[in-house]
């Protein structure tokens, strides 16, 4: 038997590739466009309701329509403390357009330490208390600080694990979130 000419083999391979690409087409709902709730870029940010340190109740889903930044922190964590002034600075400039939540990992912090730190730097950002650790579990927070950037549709656009984040980095991310906001 004559061996199959190389050129025909190659063309066959390419046709096979095209067929495979066609067969593995995906339903937009089954890839990340499908917005499964998960703490990962491209997914719908999992919803939570927590009480803030000043006694108000805050729900993530109620903030839909504007970009949201969720920063998980604790008073004993040096990079958390180091990046908080940068968060406050961008909060001062963008608070009408962007919601910022400085979620205190209260299940692994004490209220007195958290309050002492907040008073020390004069923080005015809302501070929800994650007393039972629910939000940390939902957001799979394994190290502090961890910061989630969420767009106006409630989709996580970026997760920054660790810190401290720079003010320039925060501004860059906020501007790109605002640019994408209708």
């Amino acid at each position: 038997m004559q061996p199959i000419p190389r050129r025909i083999l190659m063309v066959g391979l390419l046709l096979l590739g095209l067929t495979w690409a066609w067969l593995s087409r995906a339903d937009p709902a089954l890839v990340t466009g499908g917005l499964a709730p998960a703490p990962q870029a491209g997914f719908l940010a999992p919803d939570f309701t927590l009480e803030t340190i000043t006694g108000e109740t805050v729900s993530l889903s109620a903030l839909r329509g504007q970009p949201v930044i969720i920063n998980f922190w604790a008073s004993w964590c040096p990079p958390c403390r180091a990046e908080m002034p940068a968060l406050q600075a961008v909060y001062d400039d963008y608070k009408d357009q962007v919601a910022i939540l400085a979620v205190n990992a209260a299940s692994q912090d004490t209220l007195s330490d958290a309050l002492a730190f907040l008073n020390e730097i004069g923080l005015t950002i809302p501070v929800p208390l994650d007393t039972g650790g629910t939000a940390q579990r939902l957001y799979a927070v394994t190290s502090l600080p961890t910061t989630f950037f969420i767009d106006a549709d409630g989709v996580v656009s970026e997760v920054v694990v660790g810190g401290p984040m720079t003010e320039a980095g925060l501004r860059a991310r906020i501007e790109s979130l605002l640019e994408a906001t209708p």
């Binding site: 690409a21 995906a26 860059a172 991310r173």
Partner: protein, 248 residues
Amino acid sequence: MLPILQIGPLALRTSGLLLLIGVYLGLGLAERRLPKEGLTPNQLYNLTFLAAIAGVLGARLFFVAQNFSLFRNSPLNVFSLDASLLDPFGGIAAALIASLIYGQRKGLAFWSTLDAFTPALAVFAVFVGLAHLASGQAFGAPTTLPWGINLWGATRHPSQIYETLAALVILAFLWRRSGRQDMPGRLFLLFIVMSAGARLLLEAWRGDSSLTLGGLRLAQVIAWAMMAGGIFLLERKSAVLASGNTGE
């Protein structure tokens, strides 16, 4: 998944560390397989170093150019040690341009130089898979298969392991061929064709694909085009070689 490696007070991003190890091992291996004539080990490392520096500078400059208003009031932020303020395409473009200029000045042969880097690229691809596994990126579609892994709140195809295994097979295949100087460019083009083929195949089990027209997965369209381009160049170069012209 092991995104962060905690060593005492030091928190290292595991994926970044793996990519660095990949570059280190890849270059070491590439150095051992350099053909007798052509690129010297010094040129291999100089070219890598130059491309890395040009890449970082280009990536930052492109980022600043695109986000100029952010830096107008605080120009010193241009030097901010923040790896997220980089534009990957600007970086790749600058690295390629710098490499081409270096290659032209040193009189390096284009295809042979790409061949010299191919073992490094093949090793790097293995570590990209491991880095994805460590960070949980490039994750698979949900599955009920017994080898599914629990990731992002679902049992998913271990797409990162598929990717790593494919890269290992490609590395093993290319390793046997490296160091031979039969046709300049063959090793590199084989790497491109095989890697694109692997991506075309494996993308089907990914859960994070971006879609394009008709629900086609964008990565598969790009991979198919790269495979077609690679095969075309391989065939053309073989034909030129057969007709007695090396094409260099």
